[in-house]
Subunit: 220 residues, 2 copies
């Protein structure tokens, strides 16, 4: 058993990393990440909690240039589809989403493994709990990347079936993220979507209730 006691300074440091983590879309082209650094980031992912100790995350490191090009093409197709649904000024933002994929030092697809049948802790919400485990691993990677002074962006603009085919995933496996990781010139001060005036975040108080969901809360 461990009784390690973290100090006030430790606490402030963690909170600083959490506050300064950003979903990055701008990377320094033609940059690299040392293998040792990448392994530390992946170790952080793999230290995440998972329901019933399933560890349902799989990481496919996309190394071949031709394969990255095919992934970019898939994302580009989805960008066009999303732009059609949005239209106007909003569609302009979508350009940023693709640039990250081309320029980031490392591109990793995160794939949800086929269900292994674990019952423990997930009888009523099996898919949700497995997915949440993988998301926790990705959040660890985000914080790890930031403390390594690297940016990370989670690209979700793709058709999961098409990407699964491209990566030869077996039946039941589902890609949920394309992670762009790499050196950046600097980090956004605020979430990029807020900085660009797309949408502003809400206050914590709007998300925090006592004992029950209050009546007449707008859902915007």
């Amino acid at each position: 058993m461990s009784a390690h006691h973290f100090s006030e300074a430790d606490r402030e440091l963690l909170y600083q990393v959490i506050r300064e983590r950003r979903d990055m879309r701008h990377f320094i082209a033609d940059s690299k990440i040392n293998d040792v650094v990448l392994t530390r980031i992946l170790d952080a992912a793999h230290a995440a909690p998972s329901v019933g100790l399933m560890q349902p995350w799989r990481f496919i490191h996309i190394k071949q240039t031709g394969l990255r090009d095919s992934v970019v093409a898939l994302v580009e197709q989805e960008r066009v589809q999303t732009a059609k649904q949005l239209g106007g000024r909003e569609a302009e933002f979508l350009r940023l989403k693709v640039e990250g994929l081309r320029e980031c030092a490392v591109l990793i697809a995160v794939v949800q493994a086929p269900d292994d049948g674990t019952v423990f802790g997930r009888r009523t919400m099996p898919k949700e709990m497995a997915l949440c485990s993988t998301a926790c691993a990705i959040q660890n990677m985000w914080l790890a990347s930031r403390v390594e002074n690297l940016g990370m962006g989670w690209v979700s603009f793709f058709d999961p079936e098409a990407l699964a085919n491209l990566l030869a995933c077996p039946e039941g496996a589902k890609p949920i993220a394309l992670l762009c990781i790499g050196p950046v010139r600097e980090f956004y001060d605020r979430p990029m979507l807020a900085q660009e005036g797309w949408r502003q975040g809400r206050a914590l108080q709007e998300c925090l209730f006592e004992d029950s969901w209050p009546e007449n809360v707008p859902n915007e």
Copy 2:
């Protein structure tokens, strides 16, 4: 823009928090958490990334004793259902899931807000991406709790509809976690399920592929 550079010591500290975070089931009964500390943990949650800046997480702090009793009763019902599917020694573990709920200083239900219709970044996987955002917020709370020297456990043994009713959640809102947070005597050295011999975690290498999912990988 921020160009803050984290040091090697900062990095080691974050990795230590990530390594020492545990899904806790044992808490010190009749303990309390200072409001200032709880707010820091919730601020960390609220600093999480979210797709399209949806911030789809809602936290319901369960303060009334009678309400906590009702939540415990719901979890107890689900424990019995799960135990029926497992049987034997495994079912014994499930007791721990309930005890944490009774003894932890603070009990928070995390509820997925009704869909607000955001298209950005979630056209192809709308539910998954919203859910992953909330899971990232919970992972931040886990790390925050650990650095505050508090334990946190994510209980997922409940019928989400029954819990939604108990907490007066509106149509479309879905509880995904009961978070037990509070002082603990010490932290498990390894995940409790591994420590107790229920299941051992796999090596990172088994979860890491290059360019495509390899053939003939067992899925256990």
